[in-house]
C-alpha cells in the first residue's frame, strides 16, 4: 500500500480554523484573541461582505506587522457604517479624509513614517489604504494610479461590491455587465449595465508593474490572509482587490454572502490570482466548475435575465466573459505556471 503522509486535516484548509493544525498554521481569524480591527457595533447591513472582508484583511495585516499599522479609508459604506459620531468600530489608528484621495493620503502617511524612521522611530509602522470600488476604480483612480506609479510603500485594498451601495446602489466602473443598479435600471432594450470589460483595476495595477497585485474573495479566507501577509512582506506599492458581495445591492439573502462570493470564483466570473511586477504568479483554481447561471440566479440584480423569457443571449455573453477569464488566467488548471 502506498504511503500517504498524515497531512489531511478533516476539512483541509477551507475552514477558518482547525483544531488539528499546529497553532502557527491556523488562520488569523481562528485566533481567540484576534485583533478585531473593526469591532462589533458597526452599522453594516446584515451579512455585509465588506465588513467581513475588511476585518479579514486588516486583521491579517495587523498580524503580519505585529499591530504596527495605520489605515486610511475612503468615503463609502465601510467608512459610514464604521465611524458615525460618537462611535467608531476601528481599533487601529484610522483616518478618513475624502472619497477620492485615499491612496494619496496613505502616500502621505507612508512618507511621514519614512521620515520618522530616519529620525529614529524604533517601530516599523506600515500603511494600508482601503476603499470600495467606487472610491477605488472611479473617483479615487487618479490618486491610486499615482501611488502605484511612484511605488509608494502602501498596500491599497479595494473591497469590490460592484457599485455605489452607500448612496443607494448606483453603477460604478466595477459593476458587471447586465447587472441592475439604480442608474442602470432593468428597463428598455438592453436592461441593466452595459456590456464591456468594465474597469478591472487589478489588471491596470499590473500594468504599473508594481511589486504585488492580488485578487481574493471573502469565500477563501486562507487565500485572502496569505495574500495580505505576502503583501506586507513587500515594500512598495501593493494592491489587493477583494470581492465582497453586498446583500442589499445584489439582492441576495443575508446568509448567502460567502456562498455568492464562492460562486463568483467557481464560475470564473471573478478570477482569483496574484501577480508580482506585472506577471501572474499563481491562480486559485476553480474546484467545481459551474455555469454562470449558478452565480447569477440567486441575485435579484440579474432577475431580469431569468424572467418569463430567459435572456439566453445575455447569459451566453456573461458565460463568454467567464470563459475568457478561465482561459486568460488558467482558472481550471490553477494556471500551471
Amino acid at each position: 500500500m502506498s504511503f500517504q503522509p498524515v497531512k489531511f486535516y478533516q476539512t483541509g484548509t477551507f475552514t477558518v480554523g482547525n483544531r488539528l493544525l499546529p497553532p502557527e498554521e491556523r488562520s488569523v481569524q481562528a485566533q481567540a484573541k484576534r485583533y478585531n480591527s473593526i469591532n462589533s457595533g458597526h452599522r453594516a447591513c446584515q451579512g455585509c461582505g465588506e465588513a467581513l472582508g475588511a476585518r479579514y484583511a486588516i486583521d491579517a495585516a495587523m498580524e503580519a506587522v505585529d499591530g504596527q499599522l495605520i489605515c486610511a479609508n475612503a468615503t463609502g459604506c465601510l467608512e459610514v457604517f464604521s465611524t458615525p459620531y460618537p462611535e467608531t468600530s476601528w481599533q487601529v489608528p484610522w483616518i478618513h479624509s475624502l472619497f477620492g484621495n485615499t491612496a494619496a493620503v496613505a502616500t502621505g502617511i507612508a512618507a511621514a513614517l519614512k521620515v520618522k524612521k530616519q529620525q529614529g522611530e524604533p517601530r516599523n509602522i506600515r500603511v494600508v489604504a482601503q476603499g470600495g470600488d467606487g472610491g477605488t476604480t472611479d473617483i479615487g483612480f487618479g490618486c491610486l494610479s499615482g501611488m502605484f506609479e511612484r511605488n509608494d510603500d502602501v498596500l491599497y485594498i479595494c473591497y469590490d461590491n460592484g457599485g455605489y451601495m452607500n448612496t443607494g446602489i448606483q453603477r460604478s466602473s466595477a459593476t458587471p455587465p447586465a447587472a441592475r443598479t439604480a442608474t442602470t435600471m432593468a428597463v428598455g432594450a438592453e436592461p441593466g449595465n452595459v456590456f464591456g470589460q468594465g474597469k478591472f483595476v487589478p489588471a491596470i495595477a499590473m500594468a504599473h508593474e508594481i511589486p504585488y497585485v492580488a485578487t481574493a474573495t471573502v469565500a477563501d479566507l486562507r487565500d485572502l490572509e496569505a495574500k495580505v501577509r505576502r503583501a506586507m512582506e513587500i515594500r512598495g506599492a501593493r494592491y489587493i482587490h477583494i470581492l465582497v458581495p453586498c446583500p442589499l445591492g445584489w439582492g441576495t439573502a443575508s446568509n448567502e454572502t460567502i456562498r455568492i462570493a464562492r460562486l463568483a470564483k467557481e464560475t470564473g466570473m471573478f478570477p482569483v490570482f496574484e501577480a508580482e511586477h506585472g506577471e501572474v504568479k499563481s491562480v486559485l483554481a476553480i474546484r467545481h466548475p459551474l455555469p454562470v447561471e449558478e452565480y447569477l440566479k440567486p441575485q435579484k440584480r440579474y432577475a431580469h435575465l431569468f424572467g418569463k423569457t430567459p435572456q439566453v443571449e445575455v447569459i451566453a455573453r456573461l458565460q463568454e466573459l467567464a470563459d475568457r477569464n478561465i482561459r486568460k488566467y488558467g482558472l481550471l488548471d490553477g494556471g500551471e505556471r
Partner: protein
C-alpha cells in the same frame, strides 16, 4: 491625546451600539444526530469516537467507542457497517471507512493492553446471562459497569457464540475473540463454560439471580426437503462451521454444493474451498441483488473462485450429482420454476437456509410468548415473564453480531432500571443531520483508504485473515475524513465568518457561544457551518 471634538473618536467605541436589536432570526447551536450513529444497531457514538481518533488520541477514541460496544476488534471485522451505508461522505466522494478505524482501535487496544475500568459501585444484585455470544457478552459488560454481579452460563466449550461457531476464522481470528472476551471477564464477570441452562427458572433460583438475560442464539440449522438418495451427503451449514472449531474437521468432498444465499452460505462455501474442495458452488433461488448475503462477501467469494448458480433450486440429490431447476422472476419479482433442469456434480450438499433457536430452557416459564420460533420481548427487551429479558438471535430481529451487541446494551439498561424498580426512558433523539444540512464545500477531497487484502492464492488455501487492518497513518487519515455531521468540531467557521464579531470562542473543547448583543441574525454562520450544527430560529417578539 487632546482629541478634536466629534470628528476624532476613541477606538472600538461602537461597542456601545448593541446591534443585536436588529435581529429577527437568531442562530442557535445544536447537535444533530449523525447518520452513522443513527444507523448503528449497537448504538455507537461513531462520530464521537472518530473525533478523538482524528487527533491521534486512540485510547480516548477506544474508550468513547466502548462506552457502547465492548467488542471493537470483533466489530471492526464482522460488522456489516450500516453506518457506512448511511455516511454523508458518500455524497462527497465515498463513505468514511468507519469499520476499518474501529478495527484499528480494537486491535490497538489488544496490542496495548487497554482495560475497562472497574465498576465504581456494587448494586448487590445478581444477573444471570445465558449464552456467551455477542448479545450476552455485551449485556454482561454493561451490567457489570452498572455494578451488578454477572454470571454468564455458556453451553458450549468456548465463549463467542455464533461469532465463533458461525463466522470462519479467515474473517475473525479466534485470538481476537479471546482477547475481547477476556477483557470483559477482567471486569469481574464470571463465565461458566459447558454449562447448559436446561431450565431458566431453576437456574435463577439455584443461583439466587435477581434477573436474567437470555441470549442463546440460533444454532439449529433449518432443513429443507430434498428428494435424495441415501448415498447423498446432506449436512447443514452451522454444523459444518461448528465442527471447524473442533478436533474433527468436516468431510465435504471435492465438489461441494451450498444451498442458500445468506452470509452463512458464503461462509461455508469459502470454508469448503479452503478445506480443499475443487469446486464450491452456491445454489440460490433468487438473484444476486436479492441475496441477503452482503455484497462485499459475495465479491470476495467470487474472487476466491466460488461459483454461484443464481435463480436455481435443488430439485433432487443423487449420489455424486444433484439436479437443479432454473427459476425466472415473475413480474412481481418472485422466482418461479421454469421447468428447465440441469445436473451438477456434487459430493455433498450443505444447507444454509437459516437457523432456529433452541427454546428448551424456557419450558414451564409462565407468561412467555413464542412466535415464529423466537421469543417475543417488549420495547424494554423483557419477555412476558418479569425479570427475564432476552436478545440476540432468539428474539425477532435481524440476525447480525452488531444487532446482538445492541440488544445486550439495551437490555442491560432496562435490567438495571428494573432492578432498581424503575423504568429506563431513553433520552429523546436529535434530528438526523442529513446531507442537505451540511455545507460540503469545506470538506476537501480525500480518497477512501482501502484495507489491504490477502493474496488470492493464500486465500484459497489457508484460513489466514483475508482483510487486513489499516496502519496508524491511514487510520488517522480515514478518521479525518469524517464530516462530523451535525456536531460542532470546532472548525472556527462561525467565529470567523461573522461580519459582526458576534461569536465568542470559548476555547478547545468548549465550542462557541453567540453574543446576542451584537448578532444581527444574518445567518452566515448557519449557512457556512460545514456540519450543520447551527440553525436559525425566529425571534420571539
Amino acid at each position: 491625546m487632546d482629541k478634536p471634538f466629534a470628528i476624532t473618536l476613541d477606538p472600538g467605541s461602537s461597542l456601545a451600539n448593541k446591534t443585536g436589536s436588529w435581529r429577527t432570526f437568531r442562530p442557535v447551536y445544536l447537535d444533530r444526530l449523525p447518520p452513522c450513529n443513527a444507523a448503528c444497531p449497537a448504538g455507537e457514538n461513531i462520530q464521537g469516537w472518530l473525533y478523538h481518533a482524528e487527533s491521534g488520541d486512540y485510547e480516548q477514541a477506544w474508550r468513547a467507542l466502548t462506552e457502547n460496544n465492548p467488542l471493537p476488534a470483533i466489530m471492526g471485522r464482522v460488522c456489516y457497517h450500516p453506518c457506512q451505508g448511511a455516511c454523508n461522505r458518500q455524497f462527497v466522494d465515498s463513505a468514511v471507512g468507519i469499520n476499518a478505524v474501529e478495527r484499528f482501535l480494537g486491535d490497538e487496544a489488544i496490542k496495548r493492553g487497554w482495560a475497562f475500568g472497574k465498576p465504581m459501585k456494587r448494586s448487590g444484585k445478581r444477573v444471570l446471562v445465558v449464552g456467551a455470544g455477542p448479545s450476552g457478552l455485551s449485556a454482561a459488560y454493561h451490567l457489570a459497569r452498572y455494578g451488578h454481579a454477572v454470571e454468564i452460563h455458556e453451553a458450549g466449550p468456548f465463549a463467542g457464540g455464533m461469532m465463533r461457531f458461525g463466522i470462519p476464522k479467515y474473517r475473525l481470528p479466534r485470538e481476537v475473540i479471546e482477547a475481547e472476551v477476556q477483557r470483559i471477564l477482567d471486569m469481574g464477570v464470571t463465565l461458566k463454560l459447558n454449562t447448559k441452562v436446561a431450565n431458566i427458572a431453576d437456574a435463577m433460583k439455584a443461583g439466587h439471580f435477581d434477573a436474567a438475560f437470555l441470549a442463546v442464539g440460533a444454532h439449529i440449522g433449518k432443513r429443507a426437503f430434498i428428494p435424495a438418495a441415501d448415498a447423498t451427503r446432506i449436512v447443514d451449514a452451522i454444523s459444518v462451521l461448528r465442527s471447524m472449531e473442533g478436533e474433527e474437521k468436516p468431510m465435504l468432498g471435492r465438489r461441494v454444493v451450498v444451498y442458500g444465499g445468506g452470509n452463512t452460505a458464503i461462509d461455508v462455501a469459502r470454508t469448503a474451498k479452503r478445506m480443499g474442495a475443487e469446486e464450491a458452488i452456491i445454489v440460490y433461488r433468487r438473484t444476486r441483488e436479492k441475496a441477503p448475503a452482503h455484497d462485499s462477501e459475495i465479491e470476495e467469494a467470487l474472487q476466491e473462485g466460488i461459483m454461484v448458480k443464481w435463480l436455481s433450486t435443488i430439485k433432487q440429490a443423487d449420489a455424486g450429482e444433484i439436479t437443479i431447476e432454473k427459476m425466472a422472476l415473475d413480474d412481481k419479482g418472485f422466482p418461479q420454476p421454469t421447468g428447465e433442469f440441469e445436473k451438477l456434480a456434487a459430493d455433498s450438499v450443505v444447507l444454509a437456509l437459516g437457523q432456529d433457536v433452541d427454546l428448551g430452557l424456557l419450558e414451564g416459564v409462565p407468561g412467555l410468548e413464542v412466535k415464529n420460533g423466537v421469543v417475543q420481548v417488549g420495547p424494554n427487551m423483557m419477555t412476558g415473564h418479569a425479570g427475564i429479558f432476552a436478545g440476540g438471535d432468539m428474539v425477532p430481529s435481524e440476525r447480525t453480531v452488531t444487532v446482538a451487541v445492541g440488544h445486550g446494551k439495551k437490555a442491560a439498561r432496562h435490567i438495571d432500571a428494573w432492578l432498581a424498580g424503575e423504568a429506563y426512558a431513553p433520552p429523546p433523539k436529535h434530528e438526523v443531520a442529513t446531507f442537505d444540512k451540511l455545507n460540503s464545500w469545506y470538506y476537501s477531497e480525500a480518497p477512501h483508504q482501502v484495507r489491504p487484502v490477502l493474496d488470492i492464492i493464500r486465500r484459497q488455501s489457508t484460513f489466514e485473515e483475508v482483510v487486513q487492518g489499516l496502519d496508524e497513518g491511514n487510520t488517522q487519515f480515514e478518521a479525518r475524513r469524517c464530516l462530523s455531521c451535525g456536531n460542532c468540531f470546532e472548525c472556527d467557521n462561525c467565529y470567523g465568518v461573522c461580519p459582526d464579531n458576534a461569536v465568542i470562542k470559548l476555547g478547545p473543547g468548549k465550542r462557541f457561544q453567540f453574543n446576542y448583543d451584537y448578532c444581527k441574525g444574518c445567518g452566515v454562520c448557519a449557512t457556512e457551518c460545514p456540519c450543520g450544527a447551527i440553525k436559525m430560529v425566529p425571534e420571539e417578539n
